[in-house]
Amino acid sequence: MLFFRSSVSCLAFLSSLAACSPTTGTRLLADRSSLTRFSQLGVAVTKNEDFSIRIAREQEPNPGALIVGISGAAGGLVGALVGTAIAAGIDSAAGQNADSRVAEPFSRDLASYDPVGVLSEGLVTELATEKVFPAVTGLPSDSIPAAHRAGIDGMLTVNIKQWGLRLCAPSANNTKVQAGLLVQSRIVVVATQDILWEREELYMDGECHDLQQLSTQKRSVRTLLSNAIGNLAGKLVNEIRFP
């Protein structure tokens, strides 16, 4: 009996280890008719972060983290777990610092660049052109009560979690980058605040460019980002038309 109970416990534990949760893709599915039923759709775009470059964070871990990790592992099983966690933390922080240094000159030039405005305008234009909804309005915030007061019945909220330049194909010596945005999109029923559809995606756009060359032509980074955001708007509208 004891063996049976222990076996069941072991199986349950192993099952919990194998459990997964997808963090990208269409998380909440809906059919086209339920998404496009609104008479007036409000579009609200927000962002979490400023411009960033992600190169070091997507390359190999740094040696300092490895040493700390191995030192921790020398302390036995608990040491190995703690060491691994600390190594992962150090690696992430070191990568972030290195990326911030590379991004600094670009960030200064992009201080006045507004990806929220560009995406919002792109979405409103694309939705109106494709005639997905009878009326589409750009909103200054994702406040549902404000949308309700404005007579809007459905809301598309897009949160730009990250935006900037990302490694094209992560490897040790490659520094070619392309525009990349991590976005979370939702369609919400204003009256009930129910989320009808939700999708999170890492959107990579355009050709790969040498970072050194981009640093001497900073205006081209704006063009690169604006093109990417414009294409993302078209892609998101196609996602809504064909969920």
Binding site: F13, A18, C20, G25, I70, A169, Q178
Partner: protein, 203 residues
Amino acid sequence: MYLVAMAVATSGCAFIDGQVDLVYRPAAEKKSSLSTIKPLAIRVSVHDQRETVDKALVGNRKNGFGAVIASMKTDQNLALVLRQALIGELENNGHTAVQDRETSFDAMLDVSLKKYWAESTVRFFDVQVLGTLSADIRILDLLDQQITMRGITGTHVESRQLAVDEAFQDVLNGALAEFVRNFARDPIIIKALRGLNSIGVNP
């Protein structure tokens, strides 16, 4: 004793190379923006241009210190897997895929597979497994003139407590599905194919 057995069971497999099975299954009732274009006869050609020397290699399982402890491999021809996925999506949306030897078609998709890769990263509370598929797609007309070229990337991320072989297989198949989804909803690709349609070269 059970703890020891469990440790052996969970850690032992981590060092053995894994085998994955890659497949794309289009849902018949799910249409994409490709369905808004008048039916075209399209030739699909895929070239495997990944930088990996071992073409069977599709991923690495890493430990918490970033060291590779096992590889993920497949017996399949990835160019063929991607070609079948793209053909499946085109046919699901009313288009016809023509054979390589056919000389009569409306458009040709010339696809260069650049990356198809999965990797695990040990984080504080979980293991993140990321799958990526990147390819350049050139659209050519019957006269071999390039209409457009787009780099398309599909990524799929899962958060797991343990990165077993199944996790790598799932994120690789997820990345393939996202790639096809992005291709079929990309505004520039749709516009290019629609433009071909308006020329009236459809047989």
